[in-house]
Each structure stands twice: as structure tokens, then as C-alpha cells.
């Protein structure tokens, strides 16, 4: 097996753009664009981060409301967000998007704000 040992990958033509050949060997996808820039699992009460990437802190904003602060900011607030609850009776949504924070809102199937363990991730451009 071949192996590349490096601490940093940088594009030749554009530093922040490296192409990866796709599974079908006929098209390419952009490495930087396809990577999740943030992910986190947080406790239902919003007081602790179970595990995360590129998250610096969690704030409990009240029942069912959690704000996560991003360590290395996103370039803009147009990122695509992913959010789901560990509780199948709850719907989790990323309510607000800013370059340095995002907020999660959890509701039960009656629409009532309800605490739940949260899973979230962001896809988009790093600053």
C-alpha cells in the first residue's frame, strides 16, 4: 500500500481546492467542499458536549434550545446544516446560522419545545 505522511494538504492551482476521483472513476468531487467542517453530539439538557469537531463551547438557552460556538468560523452563514435527535419522537432543527455560532431547536411530535440529545453537522466554506 502507498502512504502519504503529511500534516497539511494544499491544492496546487488553488490552495483550498483539491479534487478527489469519485467511486465510479468518471467524475471528481471537491475534497474541501465535501468535508464536514463542524459536528457535535450534545447532552439533552444542553450542559455538556459529548464529542465534537471544531466546536469550542455549548450554551443552554433554555428548554430545547442549544447554541454551539464554532472554533474556526465558517466563511459565511450560507452553510448547509444537518441536525437530528436521538429521540425518535423529537424533531431537531438548526434554527439560526451565523459564521461563529448556530442554534438547535428540539420539538416533540406535538410541536412542543422538548429537550433531547442533539446530533448536528455543518457543510460549507471555512473562513
Amino acid at each position: 500500500m502507498s502512504e502519504v505522511k503529511t500534516n497539511k494538504l494544499t491544492g496546487t492551482s488553488t490552495a483550498g481546492s483539491i479534487l478527489v476521483t469519485g467511486e465510479g472513476n468518471s467524475t471528481t468531487t471537491n475534497l474541501q467542499q465535501g468535508l464536514a467542517k463542524v459536528w457535535a453530539k450534545c447532552s439533552a439538557d444542553g450542559t455538556s458536549i459529548t464529542d465534537s469537531f471544531n466546536i469550542t463551547s455549548l450554551s443552554d438557552d433554555g428548554t430545547a434550545l442549544q447554541t454551539l460556538t464554532i472554533a474556526n468560523d465558517m466563511a459565511n452563514a450560507n452553510y448547509s446544516s444537518l441536525a437530528t435527535s436521538i429521540d425518535s419522537t423529537c424533531i431537531l432543527i438548526a434554527d439560526s446560522h451565523a459564521t461563529g455560532t448556530y442554534r438547535l431547536v428540539s420539538r416533540n411530535n406535538a410541536g412542543t419545545l422538548t429537550d433531547s440529545i442533539t446530533h448536528s453537522a455543518l457543510l460549507g466554506d471555512l473562513a
Binding site: S13, Q33, G34, S80, I91, A94, D125
Partner: protein, 130 residues
């Protein structure tokens, strides 16, 4: 200058560990998009999306630039909530549709009241490119 090309099975960082490059190829999102679903429809930002269509209230189609290898991909969708009212919004694949290799149809339902437009809608797709 000619473009460089690396063929390798493993990437290794000095402290953060190593990674089989199959996780880079298979683990990268092949499509993501964030769009404005209310007022004037428009895509805010995206990867591998060539166009978007507003099909009517709470119903949108994203068309891919490079097609997926099959329709068995994993997808997630999301939208903004509204904390000022006691309402939730559920997003997902349009119940009248199936995943397509070249496009994906997302709908948004407001609990008990049917399809609804939302300001910010997100789509992510993981799977095999064609």
C-alpha cells in the same frame, strides 16, 4: 505548471493519526445545498448542484452537476424552526418522489397544516458518484 496528482491508500498526520483514503472518497459529501425557500427562491451556496427549482409551496428540486452512481445514497434535509410559535417543521424526500441519480426533491411539512415554505432549507447527500 502541470497539475500534481497523488495516488495513495493512506494519509497520515504527525499527531492526529492516519486515514485510509477510501474514507476520503466514500466519506465526503457529494452534494450539499442551502437555499432560500420563501419570497424569492434562490440557492445560497452549494456543492455539485447545477440548478434548483421551486415546485410550489414547500416543494423544491435540486439538480446535480455530476450524477450519483445510483439512487441508494444517504440523504438528510433540514430547515429553520420557529421558536415564537408552537410549530415544528419536518423536511424530507417528497412522498410522491424517489431519490434520483441526477436530482432530489425536498418537501417541508408544518405539523398538521401541510406543506410550508421556509427561509433556509438544507440538503446533504452521502454516497457514490457515477
Amino acid at each position: 505548471m502541470a497539475l500534481g496528482k497523488i495516488k495513495a491508500d493512506t494519509l497520515e498526520h504527525s499527531t492526529a493519526g492516519s486515514l485510509d483514503t477510501k474514507f476520503v472518497v466514500n466519506g465526503s459529501a457529494k452534494v450539499w445545498s442551502r437555499w432560500q425557500g420563501t419570497d424569492t427562491f434562490g440557492i445560497n451556496d452549494s456543492l455539485n448542484v447545477t440548478s434548483g427549482t421551486d415546485n410550489g409551496t414547500g416543494d423544491y428540486t435540486m439538480t446535480f452537476s455530476s450524477a450519483m452512481g445510483n439512487a441508494n445514497y444517504s440523504f438528510t434535509t433540514n430547515t429553520m424552526n420557529n421558536t415564537s410559535t408552537n410549530k415544528g417543521f419536518i423536511t424530507g424526500l417528497d412522498s410522491g418522489s424517489t431519490p434520483q441519480t441526477g436530482s432530489f426533491d425536498t418537501t417541508i411539512h408544518q405539523n398538521e397544516t401541510g406543506l410550508a415554505d421556509r427561509g433556509y432549507v438544507s440538503l446533504q447527500i452521502m454516497g457514490d458518484l457515477a
